[in-house]
Symmetry: C2
Subunit: 503 residues, 2 copies
Amino acid sequence: MSESTTIRPLRAAEVSTWDQQADVVIAGYGIAGVCAAIEAARAGADVLILERTGGWGGAASMAGGFIYLGGGTPLQQALGFEDTPENMETFMLAAFGPGVDKAKIADYSRGSVEHYNWLVDCGVPFREAFWGEPGWEPPHDEGLMYSGGENSAPFNTLAVPAPRGHVPQMANKRTGAKGGGYMLMKPLVETAESLGVRVEYDIRIGRLVVDDDRVVGLTARRYGKEIAIRADRGVVLATGSFAYQKEMIEGYAPRLIGRPAAAIEEHDGIGIRLAHALGAQLAHMDATEVAFMADPQLMARGIVVNGRGQRYITEDTYPGRIGQATLIQQDNQSYLVIDEQSYEKALTTETATPFFRQPPTWVAETSAELEAEMGLPTRALQSTIEVYNLHAEQGRDPLLGKKPEWLRPLRGPLAAFDMRGFTAGFTLGGLRTDLDSRVLHVSGEPIAGLYAAGRCTSGLCAGGYASGASLGDGSFYGRRAGLAVAASSPSADRSSIQTHVRN
Amino acid sequence: MSESTTIRPLRAAEVSTWDQQADVVIAGYGIAGVCAAIEAARAGADVLILERTGGWGGAASMAGGFIYLGGGTPLQQALGFEDTPENMETFMLAAFGPGVDKAKIADYSRGSVEHYNWLVDCGVPFREAFWGEPGWEPPHDEGLMYSGGENSAPFNTLAVPAPRGHVPQMANKRTGAKGGGYMLMKPLVETAESLGVRVEYDIRIGRLVVDDDRVVGLTARRYGKEIAIRADRGVVLATGSFAYQKEMIEGYAPRLIGRPAAAIEEHDGIGIRLAHALGAQLAHMDATEVAFMADPQLMARGIVVNGRGQRYITEDTYPGRIGQATLIQQDNQSYLVIDEQSYEKALTTETATPFFRQPPTWVAETSAELEAEMGLPTRALQSTIEVYNLHAEQGRDPLLGKKPEWLRPLRGPLAAFDMRGFTAGFTLGGLRTDLDSRVLHVSGEPIAGLYAAGRCTSGLCAGGYASGASLGDGSFYGRRAGLAVAASSPSADRSSIQTHVRN
């Protein structure tokens, strides 16, 4: 076959030789890929995973490992938290929009307990311990934590707060040995391989191969050679986000230009682009997760203000919401202001992100002096602090709804941190899939033979985000992809394809 | 041919009879379509326009009629405004992003004077008069106005302010007879028809017809009958935005759910979807123009605050920027606050939008009383007014850069207008096209035989907007589409197509 860098589909009639063949071919060996592989193999399919790098894991194995689960999981119950699928759905509808896929959120909420049990059955360990302090992650190996602002304004008045960030137990987090994402992936990979799933590493997918309108395989490059791989039942795309594809970031999510994070360089949008070339529907291509590089223990005790010295979000919420609000709504202009007493208190707490505990940029005896040092307009910050203090004295935050436990007037020596531009993130938009992870054509019908899951799809999050939504979505709909592709009819009788399969 | 509602492309081999034929087939008879038709016809092509409604005009003929032009147009020069292509480009790069198509903005700025002259040569009338007051449009038939915040912060410090909103002279605006958009379209339509351009009304496009990877025609429905129309040189999509396509709004631009404006119901994204089904690249699908239903004369004299009583944008800027900031960055929560003296002064001015001059929602003697009546947290609005007044007394607005001419402390009886949810708009995202208006495939190469212009493309505006950018972009790149399609090679020798053309 001639070499090519195009991503246009290749017609099956142009494939002279199929170098490999499987019932199900999965592109990408991260969380979505491994879950698809397990379910497809259990359903009796012969599964081949193609992985671009030299090892399994994808972005998942680098991640902190939150999986967003709820509705009353055994872990939630054991730790005394009440939750129902309906309550989970109510929160997700409010927090993950606007424009969420309502059917997917309903489906996910209802399937969440079963999915938790499935993960446990595959060997994913969760320790029965809850971490209730502000933070990006638990500092140890606690298995449950609030990870989406469920217990903060405005969501704590819309749904009953329940923590849903489930974290696989880490081997030894303090030594940095293996994080939660690794501890999620490892048992899943072992499960897949025990089922006979085949894996090819160091292989890069090229083009989808189509027979009429059905996807019947793909081309790939391995050690510089282009090969064709036939997928009798279908192809599953599990190739991750487009955080590292410059043209797509510029064209769809330009606020992330130059600031990718929590993604891997292999996240070049290839799965999205290959399916798009077939007319696959897309959704929410502008949506992004946004990390904010501040210590949540400091933020909860202080105030976060924008470039005009105004508060704009409750400081005790999920820090990813602060990141989104900062990047998207405040032009990435942000400062954290705290007084000495609260600063010192915060420093006594444990944190999973000690590298965010930097010295303050400015310190001053009074808010007037601090304001002047920061270069803010006269009275801009002072009046913000006065209004905050006026209400904090009464244990209230009518502006933003911060919880009383974090409300204390800012007094005496003050410190401020320059947080301008301290955001980074990954993309949440991608292929529109149905509840069976079938890739939908822009016309609304599924594209035969093509499935997708994980961050190459537009999943649960249309705009908002919670930590764990990506691993949750990817694992849940990865499974659906595996089940659906294994159950599908094989593509046209092979004798009609005028080629032979070598292996 | 069988009936079908799919939007998947149809293979030419499946077309048994071509009911009509032209060198160039243009879908949509709005601003982009008419300009494409003129240029293609002048280049010698036989042109057929297909229009879904019973008449020409599209959204353009309903519009106020701003065309965004500059770089030193004769009208700018006659009215004493200096501008250069480079200065125009600098403004557009700053105001229309993030993520703008830099090549398109450079191209457009450099071609803008020629484009003005071309419009005038086609008979579009511009009156040599400038309207310099805040407003959505000139109240009479003035030909030039600031329409994008060029003379407001932050742009007035980044580029030399120059008005670029060029408005065709209206027949009699006061009687509501014919607006600027109509006066733009009418001479262009007359020009097109004088060149022998053929038009079919009441015909709705169905599917694109492809021969190999080239677009060679389309199907359409006319009076319930599906017909096939061959386009020997190419098809131009000029079908407008997707403001009225519910699924696309939910999937790409959900903040506009339930609030389409300045679009027509025919703006159902059909051109985008047909090309997308062929793998056409998209861009900035989340971008939206946003109208804010307030009187700019009132806003410039007052303060605009969000749901927390905080100012968030300079009130003397282009009101569409206030709309975008309100909908996207302030969750559609906004109030306008003004004092009695400024309110009465504003009411003495002329306005093109008298229907936005509604009575205030609240009036009060003091800011404390007003704040309480509005239900804002104690001291939230009062402190905003105090900070504003403190600086306004010195003729400065260090928070947001409002110009001194509009700065006066708010004193005495105050009024406030409830502007929550008072936004509406249309979509700016769409097909990615090159400078010749060729529709690009997701792989980056042009799709042979397919061109697009106007609001079905992602044009000059990736995020920001100026009034006139749509008619400017649509007319400019409509022309480019017409030139390029007329100059292209005819599709494969007709004898190779096993069909005949009826007409």
